[in-house]
């Protein structure tokens, strides 16, 4: 709309604008509370300002702001009159009414008086209009005139009484309207819609009245303290009479609660009705007191009952799904009809009743099942729900005890020792994926998994460390086909995770070393690259001190190759070596390698010669060294002439020595063999068993049987056949014997004792005097393997016995270092 250049054209513009709107007896206001509440929008009946409201000022040809009609009043109160006019104009951004001012001044002469019944008459007009509005009847008087009437009354300082009169009038109608609701329909939904209607009407009516008395609102109300705007007055009256008609209020609240409950039970309800009524409560300022409180109580009861029932009826995943759905529903409810502020307490109530109270039961009943079933999704749901009610700590504890319990089954069952490491790896992988996908990689949970694993892997001393070493041996040993390098690397990395948890790393080292030695010496290693990669992993994990012996072993092997090369080319070898034999020697540095018990054997002459020549060669190169032959580690390839075909046999040195005897004899007794070979009894039995009772039977035992007895005798197997040309009979060497195992373990323990003794002496040497408890504490800090306090006591007592320490004479809790 373009700005009118003059006042006259302004009034024209007004009439033009309003003319288009159609007349209607009940003007339609936007019922929405948001609009009604906001004065700035609803109050502006000013047609120029807000085009939306044009149709409220229907069919008025007389223009309210016509300056000519105002002139009359201007006479008496020129200042007062001009002020609002100016205000109006300025609001319309019209040009300042300078020419009009001159006109006005001229007219100020006579003193017009008000008609005596001016107030009464004006009020009568207004009253009938208000009545008509409340009764929804058409009123004869047009709104424009009414507005003017209010305006006039205000100008004559009758605003106060007008306000009171309007208030009284409104109160009568409102109270009547609310009273009419008492005893209405027993059907709550019907009743609620009646209440809604009543409220809707009131809003419309109050807006209408305020529209008429806008001037009153703008002047009298604004200028007088402690007076409510007409709109607020209407609300206040409604609130007052609603609380007087307590039945109505009560019934409304009950109705609302009932409706929400039936919605929770799955019935469709009229949400707009709920929305409108709750908006009413908010508008009246009684939402939190009259509705929210009982609503939350009701919710609490509802979900308490539901929680109990569902926990009994359904299994945990279903229950969690249900809870999740419920929380979602309540959230929706807040978006749809509840006040936004209710969301927090409502969700909290639902969470408390459905979740918090049932946390232990949920964990008890379902956690293990979900973990066992690897139910990523359900666990994820559990995690996110639990995090809402700060129950993650309980979940974490449940996880910890789950791992411990499940792990215990894996670790402690001695019959399942074979599968322990693969089972643990699998278990760990499963936990890791659950942690990643369900527990959103929570740091605390990660630590819990680690702690629990460390606990369970150390539940049994030593054995897990040993089994991990053996598992690696299996993986790194030749003949492990089907796994690619990458897969092998992956496995090594995973095993390393387990290794990290092990407290007794010395046990691992001992067994790993023993197996590594066999792999290297018997040429059974699958890949030197993989071996080295494993060593470097261990090195990063435990430091070079841990691996330098292992690395030394590799060095020895490489060095031995060179030595063998130069031996072959040496003069000693070319001149003196017996023909028909090829030999290669591994020279092992004592200390790097596991200690092997010396095993005597009477070697065939050729081999003895060979050994001597090598020895001569070696010592000529490296004088001052001592060579000791480790017979138990030797292996040979023999060419065998069986009547049914020639074969090559890969055998151990002991097997070789035994078989060579049969070059000169057909049949030998156990005792004969023992005497001629000089092999230790038990070892000999094992050797004979492998030759005569195993898969490849190059000898025959008489009588037949699995075990070798003293009276048994052996004959060369004339009828030996085999599909392959080259046969391996030395698997026996790779196998670990019971003695080997115990001696490895014992050595570790022996080593530990030395370490404890050394640590005690080290500590006492610096401290001189120390109490028992402090000594024990310090020992636990220094020692890197698990040890019982009783074992420490034993060592302390042994040192007392050997007079490194003494118990203080006055305080038996204190030890003195004896220098």
């Amino acid at each position: 709309m373009s700005l009118p250049p003059t006042k006259r054209s302004l009034s024209n513009a007004n009439s033009n604008a309003t003319a288009s709107s159609s007349s209607s007896s009940s003007p339609h206001f936007h019922p929405s509370m948001k609009k009604a509440k906001s004065q700035a929008v609803a109050c502006s009946l000013d047609p120029n300002k807000n085009g939306l409201h044009h149709h409220h000022n229907q069919d008025d040809n007389d223009v309210v702001f016509d300056p000519s009609s105002m002139a009359l009043d201007d006479d008496s109160k020129p200042d007062d009159a001009r002020a609002p006019a100016a205000a109006n104009l300025s609001r319309k951004k019209a040009t300042p009414p300078q020419p009009a001012k001159k006109l006005v001044i001229k007219l100020v002469k006579a003193k017009p008086t008000l008609p005596t019944n001016f107030e009464e008459e004006t009020w009568a007009k207004l009253k009938s209009a208000i009545n008509a509005i409340f009764l929804k009847q058409p009123d004869s008087c047009d709104l424009e005139k009414l507005y003017q009437a209010v305006n006039n009354l205000c100008l004559h300082k009758m605003g106060g009484s007008l306000y009171q009169r309007i208030e009284k009038e409104c109160e009568e109608h409102i109270s009547a309207a609310l009273r009419s609701l008492v005893g209405q329909s027993p059907d709550l939904v019907v009743f609620l819609s009646l209440v809604e209607k009543c409220w809707q009407d009131l809003c419309d009516q109050m807006l209408m009245i305020r529209g008429i008395a806008l001037y009153l609102d703008r002047t009298y109300v604004k200028q007088t303290p402690n007076v409510r705007s007409l709109w607020d007055m209407g609300l206040q009256l409604f609130r007052k009479h609603l609380s007087l008609a307590s039945e109505v209020e009560h019934k409304t609240v009950t109705g609302l609660l009932r409706m929400i409950e039936s919605e929770r039970l799955g019935e469709a309800v009229e949400r707009t009705l709920l929305n409108h009524l709750l908006k009413m409560f908010t508008a009246l300022g009684i939402y939190s007191e009259s509705f929210e409180k009982p609503f939350l109580e009701c919710t609490s009861e509802f979900y308490a009952a539901e929680g109990m029932k569902y926990m009994q009826q359904s299994d945990v995943p279903d229950y969690l799904k249900h809870v999740e759905m419920r929380l979602h529903e309540e959230h929706e409810r807040c978006l749809l009809y509840l006040d936004a502020l209710t969301r927090k307490p409502l969700i909290a109530t639902a969470e408390r009743q459905l979740l918090e109270r049932h946390i232990p039961a949920i964990l008890d009943k379902g956690f293990m099942m979900l973990m066992d079933g690897h139910r990523i999704e359900d666990l994820q749901r559990m995690y996110s729900l639990f995090s809402r009610v700060n129950a993650l700590e309980s979940l974490r504890q449940a996880l910890s005890s789950y791992i411990r319990r499940t792990g215990q089954g894996i670790v402690l069952d001695e019959e399942k020792d074979k599968d322990m490491v693969p089972s643990l790896l699998e278990f760990k992988a499963s936990l890791d994926s659950i942690w990643e996908e369900s527990f959103s990689k929570n740091e605390a949970f990660c630590n819990t998994i680690k702690d629990a694993f460390e606990h369970l892997i150390n539940l049994r001393q030593n054995r897990p460390a040993e089994l991990i070493a053996k598992f690696l041996d299996e993986k790194l040993r030749a003949g492990n086909k089907g796994t690619s390098e990458e897969e092998l690397e992956g496995t090594l990395d995973k095993v390393l995770v387990l290794f990290r948890f092990i407290q007794g790393k010395d046990v691992f080292e001992a067994f790993y070393k023993k197996d590594l030695a066999k792999r290297l010496l018997l040429g059974k290693s699958a890949s030197i690259d993989a071996e080295k990669s494993m060593i470097s992993k261990l090195k990063t994990e435990c430091g070079s001190q841990f691996t330098n012996k292992l690395e030394g072993m590799f060095k020895d092997i490489e060095l031995s190759k060179e030595i063998n090369e130069s031996f072959k080319q040496s003069s000693q070898a070319r001149i003196k070596l017996p023909s028909g034999i090829e030999m290669s020697v591994h020279v092992l540095t004592t200390g790097y390698w596991p200690t092997y018990p010396p095993m005597d054997v009477r070697l065939p002459h050729e081999l003895n010669v060979y050994q001597d020549i090598f020895k001569e060669f070696y010592l000529s190169k490296y004088s001052g060294r001592r060579l000791m032959w480790q017979n138990s580690l030797g292996h040979c390839v023999l060419k065998a002439d069986f009547p049914k075909g020639k074969k090559e046999l890969a055998v151990s040195l002991f097997q070789t020595v035994v078989l060579m005897l049969f070059n000169d004899a057909q049949k030998l007794s156990f005792q004969d063999i023992k005497d001629s070979t000089g092999i230790e009894d038990k070892e000999l039995r094992r050797t004979l068993q492998s030759l005569a009772c195993g898969k490849v039977r190059v000898l025959q035992k008489l009588p037949k049987g699995r075990d070798v007895e003293d009276d048994d005798s052996f004959v060369f197997n004339e009828g030996f056949t085999a599909p392959l040309y080259r046969l391996k009979v030395n698997a026996i060497q790779m196998k670990e014997t019971v003695e080997e195992n115990t001696s490895t373990t014992e050595r570790v323990f022996q080593d530990r004792q030395y370490q404890v003794d050394a640590a005690i002496v080290r500590i006492m040497k610096t401290r001189k005097v120390l109490s028992h408890t402090l000594l024990i504490t310090e020992l636990f800090q220094q020692l890197k393997f698990p040890i019982k306090p009783a074992d420490l006591k034993k060592r302390i007592e042994s040192l007392i016995d050997r007079e490194y320490l003494e118990r203080d004479k006055n305080n038996p809790q204190i030890y003195n270092y004896l220098a």
Partner: protein, 230 residues
């Protein structure tokens, strides 16, 4: 750990004689003078070829005193005399000991025995007597521990009167256990501490995390287990 040579010269088993030094500084001349009766007494029990009282002499002495030769009072007398070697009293030991007891005849010695018993009973003396009893059992050169059987008898003799129930149980335990074949001085001393400090029979103030020797930890475990199995 392999046994190693003792770190320093092992102290003589009865270092006790050094600690209690009263009366040992009397000049030898004065000694000889006042020792006529004491010496005569000594001679009557001594084995003249050895120049000291030997086990036979002690047996004779016991029968003259009217006490059994396994009586604890004889052990007390040995303690008082600071006898170095089990079953033998040297003349020096005899002289200083009897002088201290102010005794020069068998009847006086008999009367002095209750006094001696009282003296040993004093807390300051008792510890010294108690460890003396252990050392008295070390008969071999370099011997540091005593076999279980002797220890049981010794316990009976030394602690039996005061701590009957503890001693009975301890002896029973020592005989059934198989971890220890000998007892060393440290363990021996701690037996006494145990009897003196630990409430019996509830053992509630026994704390295995303290410096008690392992054998006592085991003993307590054994008692508790035994108790709970009834």
């Amino acid at each position: 750990m392999p046994p190693r040579a003792p770190k320093r010269k092992s102290a003589p088993p009865n270092s006790l004689s050094v600690t209690s030094s009263d009366g040992s500084s009397v000049s030898s001349k004065a000694k000889t003078k006042g020792f006529v009766r004491i010496d005569r007494m000594f001679d009557s029990y001594a084995n003249s070829s050895l120049g000291m009282i030997d086990p036979d002499g002690i047996e004779a002495l016991c029968s003259d005193l009217g006490v059994d030769c396994t009586d604890v009072r004889i052990l007390m007398l040995a303690w008082k005399l600071k006898a170095q070697r089990q079953g033998y009293f040297t003349q020096d030991e005899w002289r200083t000991g009897l002088k201290e007891l102010r005794v020069d005849s068998i009847s006086k010695l008999k009367k002095a025995l209750p006094e001696l018993e009282k003296e040993v009973g004093k807390p300051s003396n008792y510890d010294s007597f108690y460890s003396y009893a252990f050392r008295y059992c070390l008969t071999e050169e370099m011997q540091k521990s005593v076999d279980i059987e002797s220890i049981c008898e010794l316990l009976n003799l030394v602690l039996g009167a005061q701590f009957r129930p503890q001693v009975d149980l301890l002896i029973e335990y020592l005989k059934v256990q198989s971890d220890y074949k000998v007892i060393n001085l440290d363990q021996w001393i701690n037996f006494l501490r145990f009897c003196q400090e630990i409430n019996f029979p509830d053992l509630e103030n026994y704390d295995a995390t303290q410096a008690w020797p392992l054998i006592l930890d085991n003993f307590v475990d054994w008692m508790r287990e035994k108790h709970s199995s009834f």
